[in-house]
Structure formats: structure tokens, C-alpha cells
């Protein structure tokens, strides 16, 4: 059950993942409707007018995300028909889509947050605010993804061992990490892993996202191993776990935007962490891959040019 390396995003083949995006579309719709229902069901207070506006806004926001996702999925499928000559165009189209989505979502989410700020403090208001915050984070993540595809990268020598050591330090503080054996192994013979040219902040974020994923999809007592090796003109970084694994029909899609595997139900997250890692690695001229067996675990890797 192995998957081939994924090529850089701008040239990556964009599959018409109608089913996947439809799944992705359900989450924001459900979230929006849940917020809406929640507000609607609350016993009316002096702020009935504001609350009515709020539940409408919440419902619209959720449905908006879904509608845009579905519409653009269909658009992307049409686009896919011409993809043999237009892989780069598809990447650009995808970026524009993410920016459009950001644009269409940010006003309703801003309105919801402003409306919530007018409600008297209560457990209910705090709970709905947390959900609005999730929507806001999703919008921010989508924008982040779009920007990463084009923004100029800072390229300076990055000491891989030093960076991984810091990621490990941060990762052991992740919720649940103390219940897993989270190790870092850096070979010293015949020589240590050296430096790679790149943007340290972004590479840090990408690898950290792999570790977050490993912690999320493993159980207390599982092992998570971070490791790196020198392959001459490339450096390979792997994050391996003895966690729950990824079913064969999902393994190819884990790097896609808003990908949420069947095991992800009930696990918090936007479904953008690995997509972000893929984009970052692609921008550095590298590739990502994954191998997984259900019940045994998963290894995710990055291969980055050393010069």
C-alpha cells in the first residue's frame, strides 16, 4: 500500500475529486447550520433581533462555504478536461479559487464575530464564539494556502538537525504527545545531515504539521519517530508512527486541500495541515510521499534538494 511521491504543487495533477470535496463541503455546512440551530434554539433574551440576524448569518456562512466548494469542484472538473496542456493553469486556477473563497467568506464571518461580541457573556455565547473562531481559522488557512503558492521565499541555509531538534522540542508539548514515545534520530555517521537552502519558518511549519498529524492519528503508547538522512543531493525527513494507519483508498488524497480521512471524524483540524506541508515542500523543489498500513501505522516523508 504505497503511494508514489507527489510532485510540486504547481505541476501536480489535480484530480477531479468530486467526492472528496463534497465530503469537505459537508463540514462547513454542518458547522454553520449547527451554529445557526444553536442560536435559534437559545431562549430569546433582550437581544432577539441580533440573535435572529446571527443565526441567519451563521447558516448563510456555512451554506456559503459548501456552495462555493461544490460549485468550484464542478468548475474544476471541467477544467480537468483540459489539464493535459494546462497543469500550470490549473494550479493558478486553484490559487484563485482559494482567494475567491477567502473573499466570499471573510465578510459573513466578520459579521458573525461582531454580532457575537454584542451578546451578553454566557457559556452559550462563548461556545458559539469558539465555533465562529473555527470558521475564521478555516478562512485564514485557505488564504495561507493560496499565498504560499506564490509568495517569494526567503532562501538561506537551514541547519536540518537544529531545526528538527527545535520541532521535537515544540512537538513534545502537543496535547497527547506525553503519552506517546516521540523520538528524534539524527545520524552522525558517516557525517551529520547538513544544511538545505530554504525558508526555515515554512519548513518548520511543514514538518511540524506532519508530527501533529502523527500525534492525532495515533493512540497513547504508540511510537512516533522523527528522522532525517542525507541522500547526497537531497535530504530526506520522515515522520513515522505506529498509529491507526490510512485506508488504501484514502492514502492518495491525504495531501489534498480539506482532505479529511474517515478516521478524522471527531478529530479537530481544518484538513489543511498536510496540504500546507505539500505546498511548502513543492515550493522548495522537493516532493512528499506517504506509506501506510491500517492498524500498523504510517510514514510520511519529505525529500528536499540539498543545494
Amino acid at each position: 500500500m504505497s503511494a508514489p511521491p507527489v510532485s510540486p504543487p504547481s505541476l501536480q495533477e489535480r484530480r477531479p475529486l468530486r467526492a472528496l470535496v463534497l465530503q469537505g463541503a459537508v463540514a462547513p455546512a454542518a458547522l454553520g447550520l449547527a451554529v445557526a440551530a444553536f442560536l435559534r434554539l437559545r431562549s430569546p433574551t433582550q437581544n432577539v433581533y441580533t440573535e435572529t440576524r446571527l443565526w441567519i448569518a451563521a447558516a448563510i456562512a456555512g451554506l456559503l462555504v459548501s456552495a462555493v466548494l461544490v460549485a468550484v469542484t464542478l468548475g474544476r472538473e471541467r477544467l480537468a478536461a483540459a489539464r493535459t496542456e494546462a497543469l500550470v493553469t490549473a494550479g493558478e486556477e486553484h490559487r484563485r479559487f482559494l482567494l475567491r473563497l477567502d473573499h466570499e467568506l471573510k465578510n459573513p464571518v466578520t459579521a458573525i464575530q461582531a454580532g457575537l461580541a454584542n451578546l451578553p457573556a454566557s457559556g452559550a455565547a462563548a461556545s458559539v464564539s469558539a465555533q465562529a473562531r473555527r470558521l475564521a481559522d478555516l478562512v485564514a488557512d485557505l488564504r495561507k494556502l493560496a499565498e504560499l503558492e506564490t509568495r517569494p521565499l526567503e532562501r538561506a541555509p537551514v541547519d536540518v538537525a537544529e531545526m528538527l531538534t527545535e520541532i521535537h522540542e515544540v512537538a513534545v508539548e502537543l496535547p497527547g504527545a506525553d503519552q506517546r514515545a516521540l523520538t528524534l534520530s539524527l545520524p552522525q555517521a558517516p557525517w551529520p545531515v547538513g544544511t538545505i537552502p530554504g525558508d526555515r519558518d515554512l519548513l518548520f511549519l511543514a514538518i511540524h504539521n506532519l508530527v501533529v498529524n502523527a500525534v492525532k492519528f495515533s493512540h497513547p503508547g504508540d511510537r512516533i519517530e522523527m528522522r532525517a538522512r542525507d541522500e547526497g543531493d537531497h535530504v530526506v525527513v520522515e515522520v513515522a508512527d505506529t498509529g491507526i494507519g490510512i485506508p488504501g483508498d484514502e492514502v492518495d488524497h491525504i495531501w489534498d486541500d480539506l482532505a479529511r480521512g474517515s478516521a478524522a471524524a471527531g478529530t479537530p483540524g481544518s484538513g489543511l495541515g498536510l496540504a500546507l506541508a505539500r505546498v511548502v515542500v513543492g515550493r522548495h523543489g522537493g516532493s512528499v510521499w506517504v506509506r501506510s498500513r491500517v492498524g500498523d501505522g504510517t510514514v510520511m516523508g519529505l525529500r528536499l534538494p540539498a543545494a
Binding site: 441580533t50 440576524r53 448569518a57 467568506l105 471573510k106 465578510n107 459573513p108 464571518v109 466578520t110 459579521a111 464575530q113 461582531a114 454580532g115 461580541a117 454584542n118 470558521l135 475564521a136 478562512v139 485564514a140 488557512d141 488564504r143 495561507k144 499565498e147 509568495r151 517569494p152 526567503e154 538561506a156 527545535e166 515544540v170 526555515r200 519558518d201 518548520f204 511549519l205 511540524h208
Partner: protein, 244 residues
């Protein structure tokens, strides 16, 4: 005007956004936060309102009918009106940054935002405002003691020696110098450097601040320029002036 919201009449905020769902919810919140609010829904109305009502601060959305927020700001500045302006957009890409310098907004906030954050920014901008004079963010060169920063060329000097800074450290220095004496959280600085926030990224901010301190020879325990605000972020604690 310093202290105005504490002991004077409540500051008047002009809120310009074409989304009624936003203004209808934001205006009452700002009023409860101690401001008077005048709402308009397009750029031309915003320009008229600035001339008719002389607000203490304008919050301008960028995408508005008739005249966009950037154009409103440009026209105000062209008329020599230097009242504080907060633009509801992102300062991110290099091109936008150059435009930001040219247009001279006092601060930026990207949607969606936490309304509390908007209030905090409004207060900080009002505190910083220098009535009748261009904001630091509209200045080409800034000086703070021996430190000089050419914001157009993006070059910095300490005394006679030019500093070699990474692009992100330059961006950070620019923001610190244009927001003196203001608590800048790690999250906000990360947003400035990267245009987004992520929980692990705050370490990136610490690394850049360390880089700046090293080059400036600034002692974190007894800072001349960059003060650590324990558990929260940083503050540029030295006086900043416009240099010609």
C-alpha cells in the same frame, strides 16, 4: 489624541464598510467600547463624512462601491488630511507593502477579525496619533537614537554602519518602528511577517527579534529598543522620529 478617550468627549469613529451585516453589528460594539460611531457604506460617502464630521479616526474597508478604501485614503492624504486611518485589509506581499507606505494608513487589520482586536488597534492608533502631522507609517525614513531606517530602500544603519538584515527582520523592524510604545503580541508580529498566524510560528517571531537584537547590540535584560513583555510579546520602547 492622547488620553482623549479617558477624559475628553468620546472619540468619533467613521466606520466605512458596504456590508451592512458587519456595520450593524460592529457599530453597537464600538459604541459600547466608548466611541461614537458614524456609519457609511461607500467610499464617496466616507470622503464626504470626513469633511463634514471631522472624525477622530476612520475605519475603512478596502472593497467598497464607488470609491474603494485605498482611494479614499489617497484622496484624504492628497488633501493634507492626516487623521488616523485603519484599513481593513492585509499588509502582506511586497507590492502591497510599498503601496501601504505610499498611502500612509496608520494600521491594518485583516478580515475576519476579533472585534476586541479592532478596539485595541483603534485605541493604540488614537494614542499614537500626532494631530495634523503625517503618521510615522507615512514617513520615508525613521530614526530612533543611533538607529536609522530607510523604509523605501529597506536599508538600516546603526551609527555609520549599515546592518545586514534578512527580509523578514527588515519587515519586523519596520513594524516595530512605526508602532512604538505599543504592546505587539507575538501573534500580531507573526501576522505582520507572514500574513497569517499559526501556533508554532510564534517561535519564528522570537528568532527574528533575537536576530534584530544581536545586530543592534540590544540587551534583552536592559533594552534600548526592543523590550520583552513577558508572556505576551514585545514593545519598541525608544522614541521614534521622522528623519528627512
Amino acid at each position: 489624541m492622547p488620553g482623549r478617550q479617558d477624559d475628553g468627549p468620546r472619540p468619533l469613529v467613521l466606520l466605512a464598510d458596504d456590508e451592512e451585516a458587519i456595520t450593524a453589528n460592529l457599530a453597537p460594539f464600538l459604541e459600547r467600547s466608548g466611541f461614537r460611531v458614524h456609519v457609511v457604506h461607500d467610499g464617496e460617502a466616507a470622503l464626504r463624512a470626513v469633511h463634514d464630521r471631522d472624525p477622530d479616526l476612520c475605519v475603512l474597508d478596502v472593497l467598497m462601491p464607488r470609491l474603494n478604501g485605498r482611494e479614499v485614503l489617497r484622496r484624504l492624504r492628497a488633501d493634507g488630511m492626516w487623521g488616523p486611518v485603519l484599513l481593513l485589509t492585509q499588509v502582506g506581499e511586497a507590492g502591497e507593502r510599498a503601496m501601504a507606505l505610499e498611502e500612509g494608513a496608520d494600521d491594518y487589520l485583516n478580515k475576519p477579525f476579533d472585534p476586541q482586536e479592532l478596539v485595541a488597534r483603534i485605541r493604540a492608533v488614537l494614542r499614537r496619533a500626532r494631530p495634523g502631522r503625517p503618521p510615522l507609517s507615512a514617513a520615508g525614513t525613521l530614526r530612533s537614537g543611533r538607529l536609522r531606517f530607510d523604509r523605501v530602500a529597506r536599508r538600516a544603519w546603526l551609527g555609520d554602519g549599515e546592518l545586514t538584515l534578512t527580509p523578514k527582520a527588515l519587515t519586523l523592524l519596520d513594524y516595530l518602528l512605526t508602532h512604538p510604545d505599543e504592546l505587539l503580541t507575538r501573534e500580531r508580529l507573526l501576522d505582520v511577517i507572514w500574513g497569517f498566524t499559526t501556533p508554532v510560528g510564534t517561535r519564528a517571531v522570537d528568532n527574528r527579534v533575537a536576530e534584530l537584537r544581536r545586530l543592534l547590540g540590544d540587551d534583552a535584560a536592559d533594552p534600548t529598543w526592543i523590550e520583552t513583555v513577558s508572556g505576551l510579546g514585545y514593545r519598541f520602547c525608544a522614541k521614534v522620529e521622522t528623519a528627512s
